[in-house]
Symmetry: C2
């Protein structure tokens, strides 16, 4: 099995807010149709940036930049550009249970060292490992509807490239890591 | 996208007890090595029964019988035979963090109608949908270390085939379903 370390990469996690209640009254065909429509929109969007889809599990996405090919200092800004379009595109997708309303997504991004490897021989999966994955996942779970929460490591790389407006959220508590200062990714300047 | 309904199938979910604490002190290479070793053992075991691996995500397995090919009345008993060997094989795998100890697995099985479909075009996944999936997942999450919890629907089909010793657990509360009577799968008779 091939295991590779990426010294610097960025990871994006997202989920659809209230997916359980959105799909509670749907039959499986309606759920599959909804997910395929959602994936179609998002997968096309990912193609437009220097990013790659690692996996989508039900309503959750994991998208990387700088993996499986290093891209220098571009990964944080490429992933943040993608993230803002991800929110925008999602907010145009109608709820299958209440078609007059649209879905909302919450997302998080973190930057750091990531180990990637193929796990399993029967149904081989390209998987990411390491502390950066856990922290990126926490940036998502502690985000808010319609928001992208980014870590200070991601913010630092963004600031080197310039072009984004962020807003300090203040410290949040992350299990096993203590208090981390995080930021909201608000917009990309024209 | 092809969507198919299986009127009667059985689903098995499992997880490694305490996987978070087992892997907390490991580096990513050690985690990948552990998972690949675990998957090797389990995937070989699955091959010996009329079952198929749907997915493994980290330490969690989803295994089906009667999907993607219907197998009449065999699915409950085939999956239960597999489940008992899954527990046995797992209990011989050493903890990577404490090699003098072995891992423990908890598992659950439910039987019912399942909808299967390929979701996504970019990284297509064979996914299962419907209430049976949720209930099977709850049989796992409310199981106990070293145990396989089965629903009364699975138990009913097992009893038709015969050959297994089960033990009533009594009712457990499942969100959205109320109280369900469940059973421990204890052993298969020679
Ligand atoms: Mn495309
Ligand atoms: Mn094999």
């Amino acid at each position: 099995d091939v295991i590779e370390t990426f010294e610097s990469a960025s990871l994006f996690f997202s989920s659809v807010v209230g997916f359980g209640s959105i799909t509670r009254g749907l039959n499986p065909f309606e759920v599959i149709t909804f997910l395929n429509g959602f994936y179609d929109v998002i997968d096309d969007l990912i193609d437009q940036y220097d990013c790659s889809k690692v996996e989508s599990i039900s309503d959750s996405y994991l998208i990387a930049s700088g993996i499986p090919r290093s891209n220098g200092e571009r990964h944080a800004s490429q992933l943040c550009s993608m993230a803002l379009m991800f929110l925008k595109a999602s907010s145009a997708i109608h709820r299958p249970d209440q078609p007059s309303q649209t879905i909302q997504v919450k997302a998080g991004i973190h930057t750091g060292t990531v180990v990637a490897g193929i796990v399993g021989s029967k149904l081989p999966r390209y998987c990411l490992f390491g502390d950066t994955v856990n922290t990126a996942s926490r940036m998502q779970s502690q985000s808010l509807p319609g928001k992208v929460q980014i870590s200070s490591e991601t913010k630092l790389m963004l600031d080197v490239m310039g072009g984004f407006i962020t807003e300090e959220r203040g410290p949040i508590y992350i299990k096993g890591k203590g208090r981390l200062n995080t930021f909201w990714l608000n917009e990309e300047m024209e």
